[in-house]
Amino acid sequence: MNEQAIIAAAQKGDVNAYNRLVVAYQELAYNVAYRVLGNSDRAADATQDSFLRGYKALGDFRGGSFKSWILRIVTNSCYDQLRVMRRRPTTPIDDLLEDDEHSSLMEDHSESPEDYVERRELDGVVQTALNTLPEDQRIVVVLSDIQGYSYDEIAQITSVSLGTVKSRLSRGRAKMRDYLVAHREQLPVSVRL
């Protein structure tokens, strides 16, 4: 069963068909949300909310890339979550708990304990650097440099012009570079700038 057929079935209200799409894209959606929001609980909420919204809005889906379509919903959910977070900023306790989540990285049984520690360090620094960016730039940097989308795709997902994508990415990436250069001692030796 190809994706078009699954989408068609889901559009007729087949929740099992829709869940196959959820399973296929929820990790991508969650990782985008996590990098944008910097909080796993918020990211999980945003992802759940996105797929629920997606199910209800599936009638509006008019072909094209389902991945781009659902990511647009995810970015909108992220903006909603960011609004909520601005109203109720997370307490330092939450941040500590977040740091203690040792199981939060994907397990890779082939890697050594040292590699795992390095990966965790990298994860932490990247997220801290991303958190310093303005939201608009952060979303574009996440979509481009973490998820590898083209400018066109990002323009579609974020509903802005190509020029806006270019300038946001240019400025966001420059800020990331500045942060990583300034905090290079926190980075694993192999990836230091």
């Binding site: 209200g13 929740v15 099992n16 929820q26 969650y30 199910y55 994860d123 990247v126 440099d145 250069v181």
Partner: protein
């Protein structure tokens, strides 16, 4: 500042603004060549380029996180959605039905009105509709209330009654008094209690007819005959509106299902002198002649109307119920 360093500054700025897109291969071939040429000569831009590439590489390597909980929807969403669809279908069907019934109602009403006002006539029918009829038509075609039509129907029935009475009286021996009694209420055909007026008309004439011969026997050619013929019409047409009178009449009355058409028919043939009060003068709306066929159409239309109104009400109730169920 030398000319070459001026050019260099311009190219440096140009490149600095496009390094990001250059890195992503999103520049036009022409711009990319220009950036490439500047990079070959500018150490600063080279360093910037290296750092940006390292940043992107680092971000690309950032670990993927497993999702803490699955976002698949519960199966209950399925039934909810399906139920939603069922209701939507039911709703659409009922809405369609409502529209169809409403359309039929309007159609039958206008056909009915057209027949009643004489605008539309069977080929044999001669009289053209009066100006008043056109006025009524215009009023009604503007979508004005059903009650008007109903009033009109009552009016027509009253007229039919009056005619019947007159015919009966005309044939009867008793002259003068009953006609005068009839004429008085008939002279105000637009009063609200017309149906009542007609039945009360029947009462004095019954009394007059019965006073000379109180027994129930029907003498052929007797004065009562004409009155008795007229009475069933009065009692059937004014049913519900005037129970006491109807009961008072009940004894001598032989309930007939005869349509008024038979009662009207004699109007074409009367050899008797016209009564003092002419019906046409009282009610200026010209009656379509030869109502036999037309009357059947009216009756059918009226029956249809009743059925349609009933259907409409049932559908409205269904819609309301479905809407509430949906909201719940």
């Amino acid at each position: 500042m030398s000319r070459s360093s001026q050019v260099n500054t311009r190219e440096h700025r140009f490149t600095a603004e496009r390094l990001c897109a250059f890195l992503d291969g999103e520049l036009s071939i022409k711009d990319a060549r220009r950036v490439d040429e500047h990079l070959a000569t500018c150490v600063e831009c080279q360093r910037e380029m290296t750092q940006l590439r390292a940043t992107v590489d680092l971000l690309r390597r950032s670990p993927v996180r497993p999702i803490p909980r699955s976002c698949t929807l519960p199966p209950s969403m399925q039934s909810e959605q399906a139920r939603h669809r069922r209701w939507n279908t039911a709703y659409a069907v009922m809405r369609g039905g409502m529209v169809a019934v409403a359309a039929m109602l309007v159609l039958s009403l206008s056909v009915d009105t057209a027949f009643r006002t004489g605008l539309v006539q069977l080929p044999s029918e001669a009289p053209a509709a009066s100006a008043k009829d056109y006025g009524v038509m215009a009023q009604q075609s503007e979508g004005v209330v059903v009650t008007q039509v109903v009033e009109k129907i009552v009016e027509r029935e009253v007229e039919a009654n009056v005619e019947t009475e007159l015919d009966g009286e005309a044939e009867g021996v008793v002259e003068g008094e009953p006609i005068a009694a009839l004429a008085a209420p008939a002279a105000e055909p637009n009063s609200e209690g017309e149906a009542e007026g007609v039945s009360s008309l029947a009462v004095p004439s019954l009394k007059q007819a019965e006073s000379p011969a109180p027994s129930d026997t029907v003498g052929a050619g007797s004065p009562q005959e004409g009155v008795r013929e007229a009475l069933p019409e009065a009692s059937t047409e004014s049913e519900g509106g005037s129970e006491p009178q109807a009961e008072a009449l009940a004894l001598p009355v032989v309930r007939s299902e005869q349509p008024p058409a038979t009662a009207v028919a004699p109007a074409e043939a009367p050899a008797q002198p016209e009564p003092a009060v002419d019906v046409a003068a009282v009610q200026p709306v010209s009656e379509p002649q030869g109502r036999g066929a037309a009357w059947a159409v009216w009756e059918t239309a009226r029956l249809l109307l009743g059925v349609l109104v009933g259907l409409l009400l049932v559908l409205a109730a269904g819609l309301l119920w479905a809407g509430q169920k949906r909201r719940a």
